[in-house]
């Protein structure tokens, strides 16, 4: 059930930015739902499984987009790693801290995407990069109070609950 739910959430995260958030975009800026979901998953898993989820999510997004394979794979892996590292140090029950964390991690992820885009030969101005990074990060952070309480509850004692191998 857990894997089915995560798979459904992955698919929704791929579909919704191009559909639902097409209507709720702000100056063309949409949230990066898959990055948000990766952050949530990494916060509620141990490091290796969090990294694998990040890698799978990134690879799925790369394949779904059908171009620049590796860009999201690397980014979401880094995002998962950073999320885990921060969640270890910050109290993950604190929604305000989580919101701030999502903003920081999304910013790092978006900066990494921008950096890799430049490496791929795309031409972005610094102003564009700044606008997109801050815009997407803010959008993701705004979604935290709306989504995190449910996801967190589910990860802790609901269908998404993660049982580490040594506890099974």
């Amino acid at each position: 059930m857990r894997y089915v739910l995560i798979a459904v959430m992955f698919l929704l995260s791929l579909i919704l930015p191009g559909t639902l958030f097409h209507f709720w975009s702000w100056s063309g800026i949409k949230p990066d739902l898959l990055m948000l979901l990766t952050i949530y998953i990494a916060m509620h898993h141990r490091r290796p499984s969090g990294l694998i989820w990040g890698l799978v999510a990134g690879l799925l997004e790369d394949l779904y987009l059908g171009r620049y394979i590796g860009m999201y794979t690397l980014t979401l892996t880094v995002v998962a790693s950073l999320s885990y590292w921060l969640a270890e140090r910050w109290y993950r029950e604190n929604f305000l801290l989580t919101t701030f964390m999502v903003f920081i991690v999304t910013s790092v992820g978006q900066i990494l995407i921008a950096f890799l885009s430049l490496g791929a030969g795309l031409h972005w101005t610094l102003a564009d990069i700044g606008r997109l990074v801050i815009g997407v990060s803010l959008f993701n952070a705004i979604l935290v109070p709306l989504t995190y309480p449910w996801i967190h509850q589910s990860f802790v004692r609901g269908w998404l609950r993660y049982w580490p191998r040594y506890e099974r």
Partner: protein
């Protein structure tokens, strides 16, 4: 306590090669490159049927609630559009009027009468912009005035025949006294089937304060022995210097003997329908 030894060089090498690999992959799978992507293709095939309804629902919601979200903008657009509709309606009406007027002038030009005398004169096309609101006179206001070369006493003709003469001129308008009005008299002649002309004066019997039908009436006095028949055409005679010659006025409709027995009165049916008059020609006699 035993601390785990971290192989920094190994991690650095791993990260370097990982980054290099990713950059190479990105470079070779960029826009315009054609690489096999069966997983992506399958995902697109599965997800696109889901995306389409969401987009359609989103579009429907956006279209149906646009007025709520963008109330000020929609209100402004609405105001602009209303103004535009008003302007276009006005333009349309103006164009229609001009086209109709043009058609009528054309009709008039190729009309049923073609007076050789009239051809000598310059004519000004004019539209009726007002009718006399009082019951005292039978007059029309035209949209041509002294700026267009209109002068007092200039004859005015319609599509079928004589209408009247200009009695007053402003720079942009002029007033026509219809031949139906008792104040206006026209030197005329009748032509019977033999072609002989009989001269007389056509006079409107719309006297001030009299009670008449909206069509008005025209009458012409003759001597008892004059040969006049019902159906004879009445034309301007050209005498008197106001009206050109051979402009049709009407047809004799009825003939009545005067009680004295010396005269007879012919009642003339005007050829022009004065009630539906919209366009006329003003004939420039002076200097013609």
């Amino acid at each position: 306590m035993v601390r785990k030894r971290v192989n920094v060089t190994g991690i650095a090498v791993l990260v370097f090669f990982l980054l290099l690999g990713v950059l190479i992959a990105i470079r070779y799978t960029g826009l315009g490159t054609n690489f096999p992507n069966p997983v992506g293709g399958a995902m697109q095939r599965v997800l696109s049927p889901l995306e389409q309804p969401i987009l359609q629902v989103g579009n429907a919601i956006r279209d149906n609630t646009r007025a709520l979200w963008d109330f000020t903008e929609v209100s402004r657009q609405n105001e602009e559009l209303l103004k535009k509709v008003d302007q276009l309606t006005g333009d349309n009406l103006k164009l229609k009027t001009e086209i109709l007027a043009g058609m009528r002038y054309n009709e008039l030009d190729q009309g049923q009468f073609r007076s050789p005398t009239l051809d000598k004169f310059e004519k000004i096309g004019a539209s009726v912009v007002n009718r006399n609101p009082t019951t005292w006179y039978r007059t029309l206001t035209l949209n041509r005035g002294s700026e267009d070369g209109v002068v007092a006493n200039a004859p005015v003709i319609g599509d079928l025949g004589l209408i009247g003469k200009i009695v007053s001129v402003t720079p942009t308008t002029s007033e026509v006294l219809l031949i139906l009005d008792g104040e206006g008299q026209v030197s005329a002649l009748t032509r019977g089937s033999t072609g002989d002309g009989t001269f007389g004066i056509v006079q409107g019997n719309y006297k001030r304060g009299s009670r008449l039908t909206s069509e008005g009436n025209l009458q012409m006095l003759f001597r008892r022995e004059d040969s006049i028949n019902v159906g004879d055409l009445v034309l301007t005679s050209g005498m008197g210097g106001v009206y050109p010659k051979d402009v049709p006025i009407g047809q004799v409709k009825e003939i009545q003997l005067d009680p004295s027995g010396l005269l007879k009165t012919a009642y003339i049916q005007p050829l022009v329908n004065f009630d539906s008059l919209e366009e006329v020609y003003i004939v420039k006699m002076v200097g013609g």
